[in-house]
Symmetry: C2
Subunit: 271 residues, 2 copies
DNA sequence: CACTTTTTCACCTAAGTGGCAACT
DNA sequence: TAAGTTGCCACTTAGGTGAAAAAG
């Protein structure tokens, strides 16, 4: 039970053989930066048809523009990401998920959580998340409904969140569900902490990007696979609009336990 | 004030240009592992003379065995690490610093904190910490004094703690003090979490190692510089022995505030 | 016995919640 | 006004303290 290696990396837990420290040198510089500047909604999805704004069926998974640069890998299995806690996401989704954004940064709830499969156990991967706008509209919430309230505000600076376990081997990614709890949302356009900047009252779609880090030497030709779970779409808000969404947050987020009723776990409907 | 890059790495804060994600591939495997298995106290310091067990003067800084593998860099400046909070360390040191070790892992207090200078702003470095025994003795605390109580117990498995910001550019290391707060000490020989394993009632010396990661391709020939601050030596204990040390901890560690007296910040001396 | 280690505890820090009043 | 945003609050989780008692 003693780890074979005596090397530990700060915040990422024990460093067993295969668990590796950061791979900076090859990652920096213009080539990768551009490779990581994933196309915005409009450009990226144009070739795939309009976005599924309301998703009645299961999630849509599609590939990014770089995937085609490498041909098929023959009989090799394809990496897959499966959304965890899908039931909870669907509960929110059917009411219209809302995520609070604040100046100081706010986590998402639920957090995006995926289980991985089909990866090359020995290959090294980087897992990224970004959030793109779903459409060109600004919304308002009136009479218990979201309605379009005009054209979208200017797009905020694009940010990419690299999962802190990156890079890791396929074996490690597949060994347990991967959670993006630490990602934070803000409406502060001049944020310097790397938080994801969104416009309030706009609709967004989180995306995950899987980058094969073994190909880092030949970036930006790396294989990049993009995964989209439409049931994770949400409206960015500075204060909750739909009180059914509020109640779902209170009922399911441990940090909001203080707002639950003692007995039945339900709060009296106010007003 | 807006970061130039929109890339953020999970737990390590914003990823500005030059702040890079992990560099795994080149880091794993036998060559580096052996390079990172720094020589134990006895072997490493043999050529430099006996360790300074009690340091009346300023810290001693010396270089590791790999440093000589690369010749001098001509007129280039040499990297330097300067210990922060030296006054506090000296307060502890003059009484004989003690650090508690537990099965579940305990932080150090004070934490090792250094400011960096003289680095190549563009080069990439990894900063490591390990803790080596100062001598071959087991100690006991009797009549308010530490005295030798026999020969040292068998050495615990050697562990190395990689600072979570690693690797980063010289510019980044030099931009603000670097703290090793998250390192944890344990006496659990079968620890699987990568904590640093120590023997209770033995004397230890923390060390910092600066590795030029630009040379990763040719490890283990990399330049490694080792820095030792003798005023950070400490005795590993499972319970504090010297009550003056206990009082210094209570007075200075925010987490121990509950044991401070309300008024004067001093607790009544018990028994 | 003498000495060291383990466990549990009250008390803290640090930070994630939605409510709400004040502000724009 | 009406709609949206901000700051502060009580409450929560999560985890870092030494004390004290219990155990070895």
């Amino acid at each position: 039970k003693v780890p074979l290696s005596g090397i530990m990396r700060g915040s990422s837990g024990p460093l067993v053989p295969g668990r590796v420290p950061p791979a900076g040198a090859l990652f920096a510089g213009p080539p990768l930066l551009s490779a990581l500047t994933f196309p915005p909604h409009g450009a990226a999805e144009a070739s795939l048809g309009p976005p599924v704004t309301r998703a009645p069926g299961p999630s849509l998974t599609w590939r990014g523009p770089f995937e085609t640069l490498h041909g098929g890998r023959g009989e090799e299995e394809e990496p897959k990401l499966c959304l965890e806690s899908r039931d909870l996401w669907m509960e929110f989704h059917k009411h219209g998920t809302e995520m609070v954004i604040t100046k100081s940064g706010r986590r998402m709830f639920p957090p995006l959580k995926v289980s991985c499969s089909g990866m090359d156990t020995a290959a090294r991967y980087i897992l990224l998340m970004d959030i793109v706008s779903v459409d060109d509209c600004r919304y308002k919430f009136q009479r218990h409904r979201w309605t379009v309230a005009g054209k979208a505000d200017p797009e905020a600076p694009r940010r990419v969140y690299i999962h802190p376990d990156s890079p890791a081997t396929g074996r490690q990614w597949m060994s347990k569900a991967v959670t993006f709890t630490k990602l934070k949302l803000t409406n502060n356009l001049s944020d310097t902490r790397g938080f994801t900047i969104l416009n309030s009252m706009h609709k967004y779609q989180p995306r995950l990007h899987l980058v094969e880090a073994s190909d880092l030497l030949r970036l930006p030709l790396s294989t990049v696979r993009t995964f989209v779970f439409t049931e994770t779409q949400f409206m960015a808000v500075t204060a909750y609009q739909n009180e059914q969404v509020t109640q779902l947050k209170i009922d399911n987020n441990p940090f909001a336990k203080g707002f639950r009723d003692a007995g039945n776990g339900r709060r009296e409907k106010r007003q």
